[in-house]
Symmetry: C2
Subunit: 273 residues, 2 copies
């Protein structure tokens, strides 16, 4: 192989690191890949750290110790997160998306790879320090954003089902009260999906009464798993009292009760702090 | 802003391009971002094209014409795709994952961000030329891989539901015969989700009889949408005759009918060509 120049090394390293966020790569890994000395790689990494900072492309950390190396995190700077969510809130507000019964049409937003990726990075930024072992969501609409959050955190995604399916093997079922319908529903998770003692981050699309979220918390207790955080794309302003607390939602939804209902959506307070 | 060096520009450009696969960025965009001349940016892009090629990190194209510019595609080279899917097939083979009824436990694979991302890149590589406008999947288990495929193709994901939900607005429902159960089931898609004349790529986790896949094809006809391809993570060897044809699956599953059933999984033929 010809000698690889610094600009080539750095571009390739940028791509490899950012494809696997929160994973620690040893310096030796890159030394072998590029046939370069450790001192050279250290210099590359120093420059790369400045580049991602300068252009708001995330964060590069050097982790010391036996399992040390370099790690990319898809952090979004607070100002950029605020702007992004404020702009999204504006797009979603108004009459066009309000459905009968006070619901909001969000399916396109929740399955746009570009948007869920950005939302996932913003949520991961808020939970890197909580160091979850996996992200838990409840099927269906929250899966894409839960997946991008898991990707940014470098952990697996675990999906709870509405009922146990034969192709998931033995499962733990719990009953919970759905906040919106008031009905008793069932939530199911495969026994192999998680391990006792792990740490879970709950991510879902919508928080109204909090019944489903509370169900997920209870389900985690059944597995002796600690819930280290809860995040939602959209939270309704009413009811103000939810069955869960401590959550971080991206947006707050307030639907007027007029004849022509209008959705007023704003970024959640923690983003504005 | 200080003058930005080539290695810094190229690293940032690599990240920006690869975060938005299949999207065309004008040269002017990067000229403005970095305060550099077009000739300089062209040189940067030429070097970057070689870097991604050399390290198997995808592909960089220059698109000419009025809407021209530079575009990153997350293509996986055939040899790398073969190796990856062969290794995955080995991991999934054996007795450990076979569930009662001849099913296979795949939930962990299908919700590992790292694995579904790689699978999505491999499937996108096969369908870049078909130029779909969106990826269609049926809830639930195929959502993550459909999402990563859509991301790599730079198009939205559209999710068909098992029944129409109040929060999706008016919907088109069709009935289809589930291949595995033989029952009549309903599939539903919001009217706003797709537009007449668009091109769809169907992506799902599992293909057995093909009833669900056929249902998705019929659903697209209801919307006057052309299906330009079908891709699955896992296809069963039996029945050999499916209700759909022309699909590209990543792996073929053969479960022995012994007392202790064993799964034999191999990469699909098109990957080996």
């Amino acid at each position: 192989m010809d000698k690889i120049r610094r600009n080539e090394r750095m571009s390739a390293m940028m791509k490899i690191l950012s494809d696997a966020p929160n994973r620690i790569f040893t310096l030796s890994y890159f030394c072998d890949l590029f046939g370069a000395a450790k001192s050279t790689m250290s210099e590359d990494i120093d420059i790369l750290r400045e580049v991602v900072g300068q252009f708001g492309l995330g964060e590069l950390d050097t982790v010391t110790g036996a399992a040390g190396g370099v790690r990319y995190r898809a952090t979004v700077q607070p100002e950029a997160a605020r702007e992004y969510i404020a702009e999204l809130s504006r797009q979603l507000s108004g009459q066009g998306r309000v459905l009968p019964g006070g619901f909001l049409y969000l399916s396109d937003i929740l399955s746009s790879p570009e948007i869920v990726r950005r939302m996932g990075d913003i949520l991961a930024t808020a939970y890197y320090d909580a160091a979850p072992d996996f992200v838990l969501t409840m099927e269906t609409k929250g899966i894409p954003v839960a997946m991008t959050t898991a990707h940014a955190l470098g952990v697996p995604l675990v999906i709870a089902r509405r009922s146990s399916k034969v192709y998931e093997g033995s499962a733990v079922n719990i009953n919970y009260v759905s906040g919106s319908s008031g009905h008793i529903e069932t939530m199911s998770l495969s026994r192999r999906a998680v391990k006792e003692g792990q740490r879970a981050l709950i991510v879902d699309d919508f928080l109204k009464g909090g019944g489903t979220a509370k169900g997920m918390v209870d389900l985690m207790h059944e597995f002796s798993v600690e819930v280290v955080g809860m995040a939602f794309v959209m939270e309704t302003a009413a009811p103000g009292k939810k069955r869960v607390s401590g959550q971080k939602s991206l947006m707050i939804l307030d639907i007027s009760q007029d004849e022509q209902p209008t959705a007023a959506i704003r970024p959640a307070d923690w983003l504005m702090a």
